[in-house]
């Protein structure tokens, strides 16, 4: 019942946003300033049937995924080491502080001077997403339960057992929070970088070209695609988390049923 109510509220609030859009479009009555729902959705359908739609979306997805994976791997390794070794944490602090404070646009513009247009989204997304994930992981390691660690040591847990049954489960909430925030940030930065650097294929490139030609319906259609991609990314991440937790519970159940 609670999930039905939740879905109903979500549906109603989404419908409310669409109504506001349509009312605003009718009030402005201008296809350039704000086209209505019907022209935007029909443009969206046309875009989706266009042969260049797939490579544009695919390249953006690949750039986002690539940056996300690089961030997750590097930030996890460095975050764990920083949480463990105070000296490394102190050494990385200025880098993290600077990167956190630099505006996204400055990073993209500077990267555009240094790199090719297809590398800029990757580099910019890395710089923007890395501190979020890194700080979460570092905090997770610093906040490990010292009482549980003492118990593991007194009961002679091996390094492998400690990592599998204490360290990894303790880090999961921090990892998930970091990954969620990083993923939604990565989409935004990758598309923003594509808008500024206009690589051959990319959702951001299409947005930029449509904007230059004052095709607001296309800009809004590509924006809807970007929103859809972000939502899909979140859903996939949630699904991975849910599947992992279900598999763990099933394995736990199986090991217990073998005993009883």
């Amino acid at each position: 019942m609670r999930s039905v109510k939740r879905n109903l509220i979500l549906l109603l609030s989404s419908a409310f946003l669409l109504i506001i859009w349509q009312v605003a479009a009718q009030l402005l009555d201008s296809q350039i300033l704000l086209p209505g729902l019907v022209p935007v959705f029909s443009t969206l359908l046309k875009l989706m049937s266009d042969p260049v739609f797939t490579p544009n979306v695919l390249f953006t997805v690949l750039r986002a995924l690539e940056s996300f994976l690089i961030i997750v791997v590097t930030a996890t390794i460095l975050g764990v080491l920083s949480g463990r070794y105070q000296l490394l944490s102190v050494a990385l602090r200025p880098f993290v502080t600077v990167v956190k404070a630099v505006p996204v646009m400055s990073v993209i513009l500077l990267a555009f001077i240094w790199f090719t247009s297809s590398t800029v989204p990757l580099f910019s997304a890395f710089l923007m997403g890395f501190p979020v994930m890194y700080l979460q992981i570092e905090m997770g390691v610093k906040q490990l339960d010292s009482n549980l660690l003492e118990m593991c040591n007194l009961y002679g847990f091996s390094k492998k057992t400690k990592i599998t049954y204490f360290l990894v489960p303790s880090m999961v909430p921090y990892f998930v929070t970091g990954a969620r925030t990083t993923l939604s940030m990565v989409w935004k930065v990758v598309i923003a970088a594509e808008v500024l650097t206009v690589p051959r294929y990319g959702v951001g490139s299409r947005m930029q070209l449509s904007q230059v030609q004052l095709e607001t319906d296309k800009v809004l259609s590509w924006t809807l695609i970007a929103i859809f991609l972000t939502a899909l990314g979140d859903l996939v991440l949630e699904a991975v988390i849910w599947i992992s937790s279900s598999v763990k519970q099933q394995l736990d159940k199986r090991s217990v049923s073998c005993v009883s």
Partner: protein
């Protein structure tokens, strides 16, 4: 186990000064004392987590090797099942998986938790969690057991039920045990001897209890007298 003329200081604060204490093999020594008088320090030195500044701690033959520790709080791994929490503590001593399973099940049966094997700690009540911790302490192969106020902050009914569970398991497999508590009643019901800390040089009180553990009754006149003596020592320290 013997503490021989141990010294321990925390800055200016002297906790032990040539302090000696003996726990006869396979007996329980209950230690009571006010906060800050070295109860936890004594346990940590016994476990090897802390070294004395001077003096020595001798573990007699048969007391060497790993220790089992019952903490104030259960300290169970939150993402592991009740069964896994016990089984993991057996890995350092038993390489055979089937043997570990059988032992874990055996000890969980002894604390009446064999129907909760697949539950996670957050699905258990406080008393059930502490029973898992007791089962883990006994399942873990050791010859020395250290108890750091494990029955504190439990309601009276639960406390006595856990004390009984502990005594049942201990009588089946006695181990040299150091039991630290704030509660003189608990100390008297569980210990073969009771000791009161409060003076860095020597125990304020050390008395053996000759009544068998299972026959002890909190209304017994001699136990009530001992409790009064303990309370008096605690108040005066």
């Amino acid at each position: 186990m013997r503490f021989l003329e141990i010294e321990k200081n925390y800055g200016e604060n002297c906790v032990f000064d040539k302090f000696s204490l003996e726990i006869p093999p396979k007996t329980i020594l209950s230690v009571v004392g006010p906060s800050g008088e070295g109860k936890t320090t004594l346990l940590q030195m016994a476990s090897g987590l802390l070294q004395p500044d001077d003096g020595s701690i001798i573990r007699e033959s048969g007391e060497e090797g790993p220790v089992s520790y019952l903490f104030q709080e259960p300290r169970l791994l939150p993402s592991s099942t009740v069964f896994a929490n016990i089984e993991l503590a057996l890995r350092s001593t038993y390489s055979d998986k089937e043997e570990r399973k059988a032992l874990a099940l055996h000890y969980l049966r002894l604390v009446d938790l064999d129907d909760s094997l697949g539950l996670y700690p957050h699905q258990l009540s406080g008393g059930m969690r502490q029973r898992v911790a007791i089962a883990r302490a006994f399942a873990h192969q050791c010859n020395l057991m250290l108890l750091d106020e494990p029955f504190q902050s439990l309601d009276i009914k639960l406390k006595y039920s856990l004390l009984n569970a502990f005594v049942t398991l201990w009588e089946k497999n006695p181990k040299t045990t150091l039991f630290v508590t704030h509660d003189p009643k608990e100390a008297i019901l569980l210990g073969d001897a009771v000791c009161c800390l409060g003076d860095p040089k020597k125990p304020l009180l050390y008395q053996k209890i000759n009544i068998p553990r299972k026959a002890r009754n909190i209304d017994d006149a001699s136990l009530l007298a001992l409790e009064a003596k303990l309370v008096q020592s605690l108040v005066q320290s």
